[in-house]
């Protein structure tokens, strides 16, 4: 083991968590530890932590996320037993020592293979008519703000997106980063009551606001000390009947109070920017969000 690898092994282990059914609170508490770094994307991780039950329908998504962790990588399963932090750190040291890690799960083939047709190999005619790599270009549609004809980007996000609750799959259509259409394809996974803990709810929002330090402090039972975090949440964001807006729900969570139902939260997402939508979804408790998603899914 070279001195460089030894130095790397001493750094916090970069872990991308894949959270399944019933595992959200324990994973969130685990990452309050300074020895672990919660990676924001698989690309930034070396370890993949799979915790809780993953439904069969989401196996392929799990495999995709697994393969998106760059090699060498290691995947670990955690069912809530003790000593997970040590297991993760051991795995990280093993990788730093030069282990080859896990193999790919999906075939190393482009999902849409190169067509090799058209003037530029774009697989079709004209500038926008082609399907480069078998995938079409974005086509125009009316913008929700002023009716300009602009390109629309449709994608399914989740079930393991770091900015969305675990299990939630949204089919969103974006213009720029403004959401113009949004459908719930799969509701968030059921989580234990513990996931509605106001400290965890506030910590999720703080993390989305780019304040992981205060979020970790809150989870460890201390005060957030996040000056101005409340004002960073736009006023009126995700406003619901009888439950106020996201800013109010955040303030309530900091005071140790939980919000009520989240009916209609998905209707408030249209016209929001992507970052605001993630914040609005995180502002309600996981149980209320699951209930609201089950009603519209």
């Amino acid at each position: 083991m070279s001195w460089l690898a030894r130095l790397a092994a001493g750094a916090p282990a970069p872990v991308y968590p894949v959270i399944g059914e019933g595992a959200q609170p324990r994973v969130e508490r685990l990452f309050a530890s300074a020895a672990l770094e919660r990676a924001q994307s698989p690309r930034a991780a070396a370890l993949l932590l799979v915790s809780g039950n993953i439904p069969e329908a989401h196996r392929e998504a799990l495999d995709r996320v697994h393969d998106q962790v760059p090699r060498p990588r290691l995947g670990l399963h955690w069912e809530g037993d003790d000593g997970i932090e040590e297991r993760l750190l051991d795995a990280w040291r093993t990788l730093c020592a030069g282990a080859t890690g896990d193999a790919d799960r999906l075939p190393d083939e482009p999902p849409n293979p190169w067509e090799g047709e058209g003037d530029f190999g774009q697989g079709g005619e004209g500038m926008m008519g082609g399907v480069p790599y078998g995938r079409p270009m974005a086509m125009t549609g009316e913008d929700v703000r002023d009716g300009l004809e602009l390109d629309r980007y449709t994608a399914r996000v989740g079930p393991f997106a770091p900015m969305l609750p675990p299990g939630l799959v949204l089919e969103v259509t974006l213009q720029g980063d403004v959401i113009v259409a949004c459908d719930v394809l799969s509701p968030p996974y059921p989580q234990p009551e513990d996931a509605d803990d106001p400290a965890l709810c506030a910590a999720r929002m703080l993390r989305l606001l780019g304040l992981p330090g205060p979020a970790d402090r809150l989870i460890r039972g201390g005060a957030a000390h996040a000056i101005g975090a409340r004002r960073a949440i736009p006023r009126g964001l995700g406003r619901l009947e009888n439950a106020g807006d996201a800013r109010m729900r955040f303030a309530d969570a900091l005071r140790g109070r939980n919000g009520g139902a989240a009916d209609g939260i998905f209707d408030t997402l249209i016209g929001l920017e992507w970052s605001e939508a993630a914040l609005a979804l995180a502002s309600v408790t996981p149980s209320a969000l699951r209930q609201a998603a089950l009603e519209v899914a």
Partner: protein
Amino acid sequence: MATLLVIAFWTAASVALALALSRLQNRTSAPQAAPFLGGGTPDTHAWQRYHFRAYTMTLLFIAFEMEMMFMYPWAVVFVSEGLKAMAEMGMFLTILAVGILYGWREGVFRWE
């Protein structure tokens, strides 16, 4: 000749370094080349045309920039002309201020 040799040397050195680095690095697999959507998949390519809505910013830019453009030569003339030049500048700024007020009403100062 010496210059050419230096250029050839550095070109060869940078190509060799690039090749060495590309061999060192792991090859990106197909799933890694796809956009990360938390396990989801996109319908279309991410390359898309969007409007960054510059028109309100342009209005503001013209209002302030025209003001400054006129003020530099005016500062020279002001020394000899005195109060008359002052009154002229006042009229000019008033007209521009109408543009700024219009922009304000249109929400130019609100970031969207």
